[in-house]
């Protein structure tokens, strides 16, 4: 389904680990995000309280999701907009296509949207002869390269500036080949000049939404480049494609969440642009779209309500979990094989794709807990990854060899006398083998360990047997 390769996570990860350019790119971005968040949080005395409030707002909204969605729909209609309900990604694609065809669109300008990635809108548009133009710089870069985003807020974080320069030179062939293009500002200027023209060519502008507000029927996007504003204001049709859990009751609630969003994401106090859209252009408005459409996507989310994964619907897509995740920072976003990488993806993807497809993701965690520590809405990500492992175990999806090993271990661990006898013998044997060096360089049943590291040899007799023989510290 959906071009997912999460099933191949191990192979994907091995490929990415061998990529030194990726390593360089990730090393460069890591400190920027983590230090930024730390400083932003320290500088706002009420940051922890705001996290609690944000969590409570989202919990309340999800518990009353139907109520707030209907209230929102009512307000959008009142302001002259249209609301479309999409149960699946395919429904969303058909709705987008229908709107594009109704205005005979040749091109769609797009602000960054992960829901668009989830629904594979670009692929659908291209298949129907409609050009999709990504206007976010990172999205633009990866579109040129035919790649997928590797991060939910920094789609091109896996690339170095050298790679970006290379792509620009390969694609912007109408420009002087001898131009200087080494520094990020020159790259930005070039992309901006090219995109600026395209804003006026599209009939449809499409954005996601960071928040939807039931009280006013507004959608909010936050960006740092202002590209979202141009994408949605200039074309005659604006489509907002958002998932249902983006809703919050009031403007006040939205502002509470915005105060933790940018701080958690990039360490900014606020993103450069926070844009609210409410309906189409009204009489007397100097600009704005003639039509305003909101597509509300479910695609499996409401099935998570009432399950142990309900809290995942609080996620506000800041990316802090992946910025702080040592696994994500090792393998990068593409290894995860689908739209949502990092810890939030490791919980969400099995919910949307099924645990049989995405089962690797919640397993590929050390439960170090950094993700939960920084999550602005306090989602217990490690706990939910464990819940997925439990479902996998119950459905007998975990690997057979691991199950047999675990079963044997558990059998012993539940029988202390037998356990102490058996482990006592094993440790003495291991200690004898490893005696000369103090460690073992290879061990048949521990290859996963000894492939990369030495196994320290046991000291000899176990603590429990020595204690039982009366040994005590001096």
């Amino acid at each position: 389904m959906s071009g997912s390769t999460t099933r191949n996570f191990k192979a994907n990860a091995a490929r990415e680990l061998a990529n030194d350019t990726l390593r360089a790119a990730l090393t460069k971005s890591k400190g920027h995000f983590t230090d930024g968040r730390t400083t932003a949080a320290e500088n706002l005395p009420e940051f922890e309280a705001l996290r609690d409030q944000s969590r409570d707002i989202k919990n309340h909204t999800i518990e009353n999701l139907d109520f707030y969605l209907e209230a929102y729909e009512e307000k959008v209609r009142e302001s002259g907009g249209h609301v479309h309900w999409a149960r699946t990604a395919e429904d969303a694609r058909q709705i987008v296509l229908g709107i594009c065809r109704s205005v005979d669109a040749k091109a769609v300008n797009k602000g960054k949207s992960m829901i668009s990635e989830e629904c594979e809108i670009n692929e659908m548009l291209e298949a129907n002869g409609i050009r999709a133009v990504e206007t976010d710089l990172g999205e633009y870069i990866i579109q040129l390269r035919g790649e997928k985003p590797s991060h939910i807020i920094a789609p091109a974080v896996h690339l170095t500036k050298g790679q970006v320069e290379e792509s620009f030179r390969a694609n912007h062939t109408h420009l002087d080949p001898d131009r200087v293009l080494e520094e990020p500002p020159t790259l930005l200027d070039e992309a901006r000049t090219i995109l600026r023209k395209k804003y006026f060519e599209a009939e449809v502008g499409m954005t996601g939404a960071n928040l939807l507000i039931a009280e006013t029927g507004s959608s909010i996007i936050v960006t740092n480049e202002g590209n979202g504003d141009l994408s949605q204001l200039i074309p005659k049709v604006h489509i907002v494609l958002a998932s249902v859990e983006k809703i919050v009751p009031t403007l006040e609630d939205a502002s509470t969440i915005l105060r933790v969003l940018a701080r958690s994401a990039t360490g900014q106090e606020f993103s450069s642009y926070t844009t609210l859209s409410t309906g189409p252009k009204r009489e007397g408005d100097p600009d704005g779209p003639e039509q305003y459409h909101v597509i509300l996507l479910d695609n499996g989310r409401t099935d998570m309500i009432g399950t142990e994964f309900q809290e995942m619907l609080r996620c506000i897509r800041c990316g802090a979990c992946m910025n702080h995740c040592p696994v994500y920072q090792s393998v990068g976003g593409h290894a995860y094989g689908w739209v949502y990488p990092g810890p939030m993806g490791s919980v969400l993807s099995p919910g949307l794709l099924g645990v049989d497809e995405a089962g690797h993701l919640p397993n590929a965690s050390t439960f170090c807990g950094r993700c939960e520590e920084v999550c602005p809405v306090r989602i217990p990500l490690p706990k939910m990854m464990r819940n997925w492992r439990e479902q996998e175990f119950e459905k007998h999806l975990s690997p057979g060899t691991a199950r047999v090993g675990l079963g044997l271990w558990a059998f012993m661990a539940k029988r202390p006398k037998l356990y102490q006898l058996a482990t006592g013998l094993q440790m003495r044997l291991l200690a004898r083998i490893g005696h000369a060096k103090g460690r073992l360089s290879s061990l048949p049943l521990a290859k996963g360990w000894t492939k990369y590291r030495e196994l320290p040899a046991p000291e000899g007799r176990t603590f429990q047997s020595r204690w039982k023989s009366g040994e005590r510290p001096l």
Binding site: K10, T366, C368, F393, S398, P416, M427, A436
Partner: protein, 258 residues
């Protein structure tokens, strides 16, 4: 306290099997601080291998075994933030559907401590009588740090060790890549994580690496030794108890490197 507190040592499976010295160091530290220490016999493991593999049924069986074995003691202490965290944070949650067991689990959770924080926070130990000549660095193991808030306690006690100089490790709060079964299920990723860690350990120039959890210590020691790095690895309790005569983790008895 008029009577010596009666403490049960939850020795942890890795200390029991691989590094009994840490168990004896823990006993010494608590006895020196005025405790009577006992080692209940019916202990094997806290159950994390099953718990983190999604095997809830076996985890619950092991949790009940631990709860029963450690009833009646004033305190239960483990030389590991990970195992102590399992008992303190996860047992009550695991047994939440069974009121009798939940009560017993919550009672145990309230009496359980990680060793170093037990010394500083409960016994109010401010100084240990130990000497260690050299520069050390310290890795904060994830569960101890994030589940139990252990950060300052080991540093406070290390500060009082004669001759010891602590040089802080960059990214000391980032996981070393052990993660229990993670390191053998995803060896390639674990290897990248522990390689990042050893690079930073070596960069400190410290001769000795300390931490409070055997899993992380065995992972980092094994990697340092595979890389041929000249860094000795010990559990922090060994240094605090002044019991550093035994070879460091993974080192041969004659003490020579490599």
């Amino acid at each position: 306290m008029s009577e010596a507190p009666r403490v049960a040592l939850f020795v942890t499976c890795l200390v029991d099997l691989f590094r009994p010295s840490v168990g004896f160091a823990a006993v010494k530290l608590m006895q020196d601080a005025g405790c009577t220490v006992e080692v209940p016999e019916a202990q094997t493991c806290c159950g994390q291998p099953a718990y983190n593999s999604g095997d809830r049924k076996d985890t619950i069986a092991i949790a009940k075994q631990v709860i029963a074995a450690f009833e009646g003691y004033d305190h239960v202490v483990a030389p590991s933030g990970s195992c102590a965290g399992m008992i303190m944070k996860h047992y009550p949650e695991l047994l939440a559907d069974d009121p009798d067991w939940e009560t017993r689990a919550t009672d145990l959770a309230g009496r359980t401590h990680e060793l170093i924080s037990f010394l500083t926070d409960v016994l109010k130990v401010e100084n240990v009588a130990a000497a260690f000549d050299g520069t050390v660095t310290y890795h904060d193991s994830c569960s101890g740090l994030r589940e139990l808030g252990i950060h300052d306690q080991p540093r406070q006690l290390l500060d009082g060790v004669d001759g010891l100089h602590l040089r802080e490790l960059e990214d000391a709060n980032v996981c070393c890549g052990f993660g229990g079964t993670f390191c053998v299920k995803y060896p390639d990723i674990s290897n990248r994580m522990v390689s990042n860690k050893t690079e930073q350990i070596v960069a400190t120039g410290a001769e000795t690496l300390l931490a409070g959890d055997m899993g992380c210590l065995m992972n980092m020691a094994g990697k340092l030794q595979r890389e041929g790095a000249n860094v000795r690895v010990r559990h922090v309790a060994e240094v605090l108890a002044g019991m550093t005569d035994t070879p460091a983790i993974g080192e041969p008895s004659d003490g020579s490197a490599n």
